[in-house]
């Protein structure tokens, strides 16, 4: 036994990035809402980036360690404390058997990620989300350690983090049905703030804001959508599809959030605000590649015991 859930927190679940490649069977990749933070948590814990991590919302779980274990925290800052001593975010730490990890306040963001050295064991073929309830036990998935120099408390430099904010501006690419938007709707989409409605969850964020008017499509048959697709239902209130989106949809896809800015969205919750800005594919790819370079820097640093 590696982790014991003394308190479950709300919507605590295990998420990984191994679910890709099966959308033609109607199975979406699911996975963490903030993929960047999940990958960093795994790297800091000495794991492969795609392995299972614990995704937590606030109030978060209370966890007892069942054995000596290195762990890492990334994403939202929920004021973590190990046996009452603050444990910094975006950092790796060492726990001893029977140590208790608590999260004492919501400092920033909506989703915090916990990774443990050796990874968390999950059913890889599972099609549904694994929720953690009080009394749940998470075991270590043995055998995928990378060679890792363990300093007592290694952390990540702010310079490689996405521009997290409680009211972010998120860049979007025009979607397949962008042309259906009226000029006024394009102006509203790219200049007005939108608020995440209370019906926002891991499947998608319903946005309250200006009603976007669009020409009704002659006919739209079901076609692929993805994490970050902004759909426009007939009521004119856009929906941003998030990690648990369905694989296909029939509403106009007016825009898609660029992948480098998805982590900014992943840290929002109901009643948070967001605004959108149009980008082009060159800018989107440059931002995605910069993020990959930052992760590579971190990976190399961890392997050679250098942090910054």
């Amino acid at each position: 036994m590696t982790l014991l859930f003394q308190k479950e927190g709300i919507f605590s679940s295990l998420q990984n990035l191994r679910g890709i490649g099966r959308q033609s069977f109607g199975i979406n990749p699911r996975g963490p809402m903030d993929r960047f933070a999940a990958r960093v948590a795994n790297l800091l814990a000495g794991n492969d980036e795609d392995g299972s991590v614990l995704e937590m919302h606030f109030p978060a779980a209370q966890i007892e360690f069942g054995e000596d274990c290195r762990f890492a925290l990334a994403g939202a800052d929920f004021a973590a404390a190990l046996n009452g001593i603050p444990a910094r975010n975006w950092a790796a730490h060492s726990a001893r058997s029977h140590d208790v990890l608590k999260f004492e306040g919501k400092v920033f963001g909506s989703r915090s990620y916990l990774a443990i050295e050796g990874g968390m064991k999950t059913d890889r073929a599972g099609y549904s989300t694994i929720r953690l309830a009080k009394g749940s036990i998470v075991e270590r998935e043995a055998g995928n350690f990378i060679d890792c120099h363990q300093s007592e408390s290694s952390f990540v430099s702010k310079s490689i983090l996405p521009a997290y904010s409680s009211f972010p501006t998120v860049r979007v690419l025009p979607g397949g049905e962008f042309g259906l938007l009226s000029d006024a709707a394009i102006r509203a989409l790219t200049s007005e703030p939108f608020v995440l409605s209370n019906e926002s969850d891991r499947m998608g964020y319903r946005l309250d804001g200006p009603v976007l008017s669009a020409t009704e499509p002659a006919e739209m048959v079901s076609a692929a959508v993805t994490f970050g697709t902004i759909q426009l239902p007939p009521d004119g209130q856009p929906i941003v599809l998030m990690a648990d989106h369905q694989t296909s949809g029939g509403y106009p896809r007016v825009a898609n959030v660029i992948s480098a800015d998805l982590p900014l969205l992943g840290q929002l919750g109901p009643q948070d605000k967001v605004s959108f800005q149009l980008a082009n594919i060159e800018e989107a790819e440059r931002a995605a590649m910069q993020m990959e370079r930052n992760l590579k820097k971190l990976r190399t640093g961890i392997r050679f015991g250098r942090f910054w």
């Binding site: 073929a125 397949g176 990959e292």
Partner: protein, 228 residues
């Protein structure tokens, strides 16, 4: 060579959609399925998956890997777009994998066929006639979506092509076979849903095999039968 796509456009910076048209037709669906089979058989560096839908295929890729292996183009998108155009010129019929015919047992017992009476009433025929009309057709799997392993199949005979329920059920039982207009589909797991339920199958549609997670592939054909 296959049908010329009507449009090729980005779906974010990780995917490109190739749209052959915007209607349900076997020819457009064939084009979508053949293009996705081509890329599954001949993946390029950075390719993640090809996802066929009704009349389009979406190619998912990792931009940094595409760019690393092919820097002739200013963007990974342009590189993938060029590969798609090239594939459309070169996809030949011989590359098409054979589709399977899947036989599915179905029960029309009243506790399974939740909307059978209503479907029959819709066009003023008896439940037995409704069942006969439904069983007479072989259905094509156009695409999978909505739920893991949910196959959108067609075409349902016009006489039993009933609309969706005005108020969807909060829980359609696992295995239920539904009708929505000219489409039919099977719920692989319990789920909310608005299709009118004509019967139910006990066949397990999902598998434990990660590479073949369900018994259908787009392009397969399905025949329903009443077990003896």
């Amino acid at each position: 060579m296959m049908i010329e796509p009507a449009r090729i456009f980005s779906l974010g910076d990780n995917a490109v959609t190739v749209e052959f048209g915007n209607e349900i037709s076997e020819a457009l669906n064939d084009a979508a399925i053949n293009l996705s089979r081509h890329f599954n058989a001949h993946p390029f560096p950075g390719f993640v998956e090809a996802v066929p839908a009704m009349a389009s295929t979406t190619i998912f890729y990792r931009p940094h890997e595409v760019h690393f292996h092919d820097d002739l183009f200013p963007t990974a998108f342009a590189s993938v777009e060029a590969k798609i155009k090239d594939a459309i010129l070169n996809v030949s019929a011989s590359e098409e994998a054979a589709s399977q015919l899947i036989e599915i047992p179905i029960s029309f017992a009243s506790n399974h066929a939740l909307d059978l009476e209503k479907i029959a009433g819709h066009s003023g025929i008896t439940p037995d006639e409704t069942i006969e009309i439904f069983l007479a057709k072989v259905y094509r799997v156009y695409m999978l979506g909505f739920l893991p392993g949910f196959a959108y199949m067609g075409e349902v005979d016009g006489r039993i092509a009933v609309p969706r329920l005005t108020t969807p059920r909060t829980a359609v039982p696992k295995g239920s076979v539904g009708i929505a207009g000219r489409q039919t589909g099977i719920y692989p797991s319990e789920s909310p849903g608005g299709w009118q339920i004509i019967g139910c199958t006990e066949l397990e549609l999902l598998t434990d095999n990660t590479n073949e997670p369900c018994i259908f592939r787009p392009g397969d054909h399905v025949r329903f039968f009443r077990p003896g």
